[in-house]
Amino acid sequence: MSATGTSPQPSTATGAPMTEQHSPLHDEHVALGAALTAFAGWQMPLRYTSDLAEHTAVRTAAGLFDLSHMGEIEVTGQDAGAYLDRALVGNLSGLRVLGARYTMVVQEDGGVIDDLVVYRTGETTYLVVANASNHAVVLAELRDRAAATGLDVQVEDRSAATGLVAVQGPHALAVVEALPGLAPDPDGPADVTPATLRYYACLPMRFEGRPVLVARTGYTGEDGFEFFVDADGTPALWRALLAAGADHGLVPAGLSARDSLRLEAGMPLYGNELDRTTTPHDAGLGRVVRLDKVDADGEPVPFVGRDALAARAHSAPARVLVGLQGLGRRAARHGYAVHASTQPDAPVVGTVTSGAPSPTLGHPVAMAYVTPEVSAEGTELAVDVRGRREPVRVVALPFYRRPR
């Protein structure tokens, strides 16, 4: 056999250092017998037992993920909101306190440097969460942009000091409610609990006395919570969540399940659907670009990438991100060519960005950039799967939507 690896890519693919960093939960993963993999310069769990079992647990009960490799960057200062409006494509000054927003940092030409989740943790404090593979470049960009604006803002890297674990799945709330030691923060809002916490909102709490930021966010297409906690306190939180979740079907889940879950949910992965040659609009995420945002004087905010993205917003796209349902059994994978049909002479009309056999749906799924002419739902195309054309059909994203 000769294995063809798919995402997550090894650390060498991202230019990350070969000496891999360890999560604060490394010893927990080893003790659980996880298969570890190099990912973006970190050694992280690929799976604990079975990719499919972990995937299915998240869809039907709950999974516990270690995301401590993600980059946490704190932005503070009187002008923090105004600064983020200049540095990112979204409207962050307009984000309510304890709200969260999916946004992006782009180049002047509109190419995506990273996709981010930003939490407004206070009136003048924000937490920016970057992909592990882009953490260093995002930090450098945010610092450069802070210096360029001259605004009153500090950009601090909190990644090494911060652990991040996620509970995802329909039983996530039950797991969190069963967690002993989780208590309200005396300075937090008195009327919000995990049960009433809204999607894309966060809540400062205490776990065994330590500050923990609980967020209702995730990357699986399920309900779920993410816990930002200091690195030293992460193992105790992890163990307590595993114990509390035992009665609710919670299992530890690795990066392999994370990737198949996010693909079914139609969520982009940086390095696959997003990169510096891609604009948010290309990826169907033009809604995150807020060309209408204004400063305190009511003037349009000249954020980095604004001119290029304003032009892009009003021009016909060269390519469109679509979902592809495999009609055969062989799955399209990252980088495979999309053709207009299964005929041998059919021209190339696109490229697959992510693909896998969908555990939930039972057939192959893929995301691909294709030319607009073939992007309509129902269009039948073909993917060159290692020399053979496999028929696919353009379908709406996401492939999977959780029942409510």
Partner: protein
């Protein structure tokens, strides 16, 4: 990882195993099955196909990745394991038993390794 390599089998560097029955039985090793993760699709040649040692004769796909299957021997396919085509998880569950892949009327073998030699390549 390289636990329990049956000493009675011979192996390829590409993670296939072959036994000494007639026709020979071919499968993939526990090392390969573990590296792939949960196998969800197995494509095998047809009975009667001629196979060459070292040539690609099928595919084994998991959620996470896909691998080509190389024939460890030359000959003619005598039988394929329809049970693993119908339920590919058999390969993970029992790679040296119920998860066998095909049987080949062998005319010659490719380069094969002992369990100790294969184990040394996959510590």
């Amino acid at each position: 990882m390289a636990a329990e390599l049956p000493a009675t089998l011979q192996y390829t560097a590409e993670h296939e195993w072959v036994d000494d029955s007639s026709p020979v039985t071919v499968g993939i090793t526990s090392v390969a099955a573990e590296a792939l993760g949960d196998i969800v699709f197995v494509e095998l040649p047809a009975v009667g196909d001629t196979v060459e040692a070292g040539s690609v004769i099928g595919e084994i796909e998991s959620t996470k990745s896909v691998s080509e299957l190389f024939s460890p021997v030359s000959g003619t396919v005598a039988e394929v394991n329809q049970a693993v085509v119908d339920d590919p998880s058999l390969v993970n569950a029992d790679p040296y038993g119920a998860g066998w892949l095909l049987r080949v009327d062998m005319t010659s073998a490719g380069p094969l390794l002992s369990a100790a030699e294969y184990g040394a390549l996959n510590p």
